[in-house]
Amino acid sequence: MFKNAAEWAAKPKFPNSHYVDSRIYTDPTIFEEEKEKLFKSSWIIACHESEIPGAYDYRLFTHPTGVPLIIVRGEDTKVRGFYNICPHRGNTILYDPAGNAKRMTCIFHAWSFDTCGNCIDISRAEQGYQNRYRKEDTGLRAVKTEVGFGGFVWVNLDDASCTLKDYIGPALDLLEPHMREPMEVFHFHKAVINTNYKLWHDTNSEFYHDFLHYFNRITGMMQPGYFDRKYVGYTNGHASVGSMEIKYDAYAGSKVRKIGWPGLAPGGWILIDLFPGMTYNLRTSVLRIDTSVPLGPNKVMIEFRGLGLKRDTPEERAERIFDHNTIWSPFGRNLHEDLLAVYGQGRAMHEGTDSRWVIHGREENSTIHDEIGMRHFYAEWSRRMGRPAYDPFREGRPEPARAVA
């Protein structure tokens, strides 16, 4: 039955934990607050160690808070992270997204820094600063940087944050046996979409939207075991979905996958969402990693990586790339559909459209079409933000009766 204005605005007939107010996706105040309360103190994937294999190799990364970062491997092979901001006049130090720099020299006034963040040269220092200011008095702002969980380089802007290990907890245990061999990035692209970053994470946190994907319907949903996949929620808002066997040859032009992944059943698929906007997606022969960098309430940049094994032969790598591209390249069948769907949400939900609620109400014993993954995320979001996602501006609705995990 259609709804009039009052009915459209009325809160959904679900527990408070089973829906959110659409304004959490569109409000500029909430967006700015998320950067401070969620992203600043979370561990975020900046790149993979294979992107900086040698001494002095560096990689740039724009942190979700907006801070430009340099990730660099030192002569001692240690990976460190710094602001890509010159302490002199606030200029960008490195411009190319990746490269090799024994000395990182700001082009503006030629101040130079080493890979430990020390200032090693101030041009015409004595003439200008006499003894008032020396190179020892300055340096790059270091950020906490750790390498782990499959060789990814993680950064945290909060000097007082917990360790990466404590942040992840047991969330990646399901994947740990499959990430013991060195991996290598073979695919990278960015997609900028007019939608909220949480809507992308939502899409990665529920499989009910497999109805969107012809490929997944016939290779997954119609196959035995699909509806047995279970969600597990972890501390800090992370969640996983267990494996099943995907029947790739059910899709015309596709075929049974031969190459697989160490320890993963043929056609296997494990997906783990990490709060607040990262996803490990191991499917058959490829590990895909999504990292969301919010650019505005209704704009997100998503970095997509595809990884194989470092020991791959050229033939094996070619097969992984083929598997990846079938569904996940910019011309792949599934990624386009997923991005189209969240673009559609952004289009229907941006400020002023009178979108009111987003429902996360499906309960199916935590199995594949249950929406518990999103409920788990928003319980953590509400806790960290100090705002209930169902009533972010506390306009008089009661607190949830129970926390749902």
């Binding site: 992107e51 997609a191 899709y251 591209n325 390249s329 910019p330 189209l340 673009y343």
Partner: protein
């Protein structure tokens, strides 16, 4: 029509066929051993990447399956300019500049979607030249939601 003109016309006809979503017509311009790929270099990971790679049968399946998928229906317009043709025996290597424009269905605004080049290998000697191989080498790598139909 001289050989160079025939080759240029082949490149332009592939653009027209794809723009019109006449996939049968496009594949008729391709040899049986046709190979199509889309490639790009990533300065971020400092590697060459392949984003799509199919033989003729694979292209046929990809295009036949399109109606089963949810796709962006905004039409594309391919603009190619043949820069260089090098003939050797019964083959020609052809380099063309490529611009792809995307037109919104609602309102019809057009924006540049991608730039790159076609690196084509053309089979000569038959009644008409045929495409043996096409590598679409993209300079543009940020394609928003991407696209289901090859460039």
């Amino acid at each position: 029509m001289d050989q160079r003109q025939q080759i240029e016309e082949l490149v332009y006809r592939t653009c027209l066929a794809l723009d019109e979503q006449d996939f049968k017509g496009f594949l008729e311009l391709c040899d049986e051993s046709f190979r199509y790929s889309i490639a790009a270099f990533s300065p971020e990971i400092r590697k060459d990447m392949t984003w799509l790679d199919h033989d003729k049968a694979g292209m046929d399946t990809l295009l036949t399956n399109l109606p089963r998928h949810n796709s962006d229906h905004s039409p594309l317009t391919r603009h190619a300019t043949v820069y260089r043709v090098s003939c050797e025996g019964e083959r020609a290597d052809v380099v063309s500049a490529l611009q792809v424009f995307r037109t919104a269905l609602d309102g019809g605004s057009t924006a540049l979607f991608a730039v790159g080049r076609y690196y084509d290998t053309v089979k000569l000697g038959g009644s008409a030249p045929k495409l043996l191989k096409r590598v679409v080498r993209l300079v543009t790598r940020e394609l928003g939601a991407g696209y289901h139909i090859p460039f």
